[in-house]
């Protein structure tokens, strides 16, 4: 993937994922502040999230937005600071995005379903 139109689309996706992340981080922090009132324990967290499709959907989309946003940014940094070519930087970023997505979704699965 390269060319100015692709690059413009990647910029768009990074911008849209940033907007999503801004909202998700706020909701996440507000929920945390509310949830830790009675102390924080694994059992309490799992009691709240297990079987909750709302929590699953929320954190599933959160993970995907983070994977998209961070990897596009890292591809740019790799080109500008490490001098990688666009192709190599994007491949590296795609691997990173996959890693975030797999690890993140596995964690969400652990919270909701396991």
């Amino acid at each position: 993937m390269s060319g100015p139109v692709t690059e413009a689309k990647l910029w768009y996706w990074q911008r849209v994922s940033a907007m999503a992340l801004a909202l998700f981080v706020l909701v996440h922090l507000a929920t945390m502040a509310w949830a830790v009132r009675g102390g924080l324990s694994a059992a309490e967290i799992l009691g709240r999230t297990r079987g909750s499709w709302l929590a699953g959907a929320f954190y599933g989309v959160f993970v995907m937005a983070a994977a998209v946003h961070a990897s596009i940014g890292l591809a740019t940094i790799a080109q500008e600071w490490l001098g990688l070519r666009a192709g190599a930087a994007r491949t590296l970023a795609a691997v990173f995005a996959l890693a975030i997505a797999v690890l993140g979704l596995r964690a969400v699965y652990g919270l909701v379903a396991a």
Partner: protein, 252 residues
Amino acid sequence: MATARNGRVYGEPRLSDELVVKVWRGREDGAFVAYRVPRRESQTVLDVVTWIQRHLDASLAYRYACRVGMCGSCAMTVNGVARWTCRTHVSRVAKGEALEIAPLANLPIVRDLATDMRDFFDRWARARGQFSGAATRHDDFARVDPASAARVAADAGIECIGCGVCHASCDVVAWRPAFAGPAALNRAWTLVNDERDTAGRERLLAVAGDAGCHACHTQGACTERCPKGIAPTAGIAGLKRLVAKAAMRGEL
């Protein structure tokens, strides 16, 4: 200058009699050479450079034309910051008696303080910086509403004199050799907002992606340093939005 009874002296601090001016000599592998230059009131950095060339070393190469901030030829790096030298007073930038004058960054050096501006203006051409109109000399004048949003946006960037200060101040230009740079993108933005222009789609394509507007990190050095008070950062942000929307809609 009046002297008060307690011995303190009121009024303007006296200027020291001379400046020690380090000037870049040679090309990329050159070095700074120090000159002593008499200090004057209301002295500009360009006055200093001219004094050195006329009194100390006639071989000093530099470029200027109008001396009044219109032509954009005399920009140099003064104490590490890109500036137009004809409108920069020594009193504003000298650190004590010290002044360091170098050619603009991010451009090839011809010799001493003169940079090769060809690459700079080639980028304007690549960013589709030429006006393309549909009207001929037989048509009546176009009537453009000066209060329309597009014309207000174009007017905000139209006073660029092509001095290269923004280009020399931009980190992304240094990092990405293919990046169009703030001046070329500002030019493209004024044309995108010119309702008489007919090359909108080609121009958006020319400024799309990592060689164009999307590489800008919005650091704003161009906007901070522009001697004309233009905000290329704002124009580039506008281009990013327009181009990305067009790309997502499949219009590019």
